[in-house]
Amino acid sequence: MKNELTQEQVAQLFDFTRKHYVEYYDVQVELVDHLASSIETEMEQNPNLSFEQALNKVFSGFGIFGFDGIAQTKGDAVAKQQRKLWQQKFLELLQWPNLIKSICIFIIIYLLFSLFDKESIIIIFSGLLVVWSLSLLLKEGIYTKRTLKKKLVLISHRYQYLGFCYAPIYIYQFFGDWLIAQQTWLLSLLFTVLILELIAYQITSKLIFKEAKELYPEAFKDFVVSN
């Protein structure tokens, strides 16, 4: 009969993954279960094998790079998946009934450009995007610090999309005259798209945190162990 590993041995496996530079808890969980299942089978087939000997044997199955490639590919996969989610949420903002709100944003920006100095509005909206994105990062950073006790790869790739918020500032800095010379509707469209991208980021980010908490509640500080 297969003997299940003890709580201490499972904890040892978590230590083992950490020693092999797997820093994210969500990656550790999968590797620990694989190692544990494999060790249990090895020890069942050869009862004289110690836990440490079985672990070494099982780990050799991961090849010379050990866990390296696994942590890397997991990160890439998460980034790709979340980028898709972000794009999906952005497209939803262009569909009924959200489309009404998006058109309203465009009209407001268009009116502002028509009523006031173009350059001033460009500067205000460029600054607004930067401040908005930084405040989001700060808010999420504080939330992560307060609630998370284990690092998750699932929530570590969110920031990659926010670079677009700084685009208008750079364009204004290097091609200011060209930017101001653009037609009002085109500028309004540009800032509407950027604002919608940021709203889509906010929605995506909330969903990412929600999914992380559902899948790995024990990685959060408010998790209560129930027996």
Binding site: E4, L5, T6, Q7, V10, V29, E30, L31, V32, D33, H34, A36, S37, S38, G61, F62, G63, F65, G69, I70, Q72, T73, K74, D76, A77, V78, A79, K80, Q81, K84, L215, Y216, E218
Partner: protein
Amino acid sequence: MFKSNQLFKGSLTTIILSLLEQNDKMYGYEITQKVKELTQTDLKITEGALYPALHKLEGEGLLTVTIEKVGNRNRKYYQLTENGKTETVNKLADLRDFIEQMQLILNTKLSSQ
């Protein structure tokens, strides 16, 4: 008997998708064992190859994951999404076409010798 795993490396994602189509949900270790069982240990999916392939499929939205408590540890199960189910049908059809083409090429070559 399979003497080389090289041929199968390119088909790893198809093998995973096909297994998940037949078994509803599976975890990483179970997939390696299932492949071993089906091929009588001739074909081994190494862990170093399996997990990157699983993560890639998950990233492409073909797989979804759930976590279940099993004994004193958590287990991550993979399941096909709707897109994954469609992709499995397409990949299996591609593989069958490829095998037919190879058979045709090899048979033509052999008969001309």
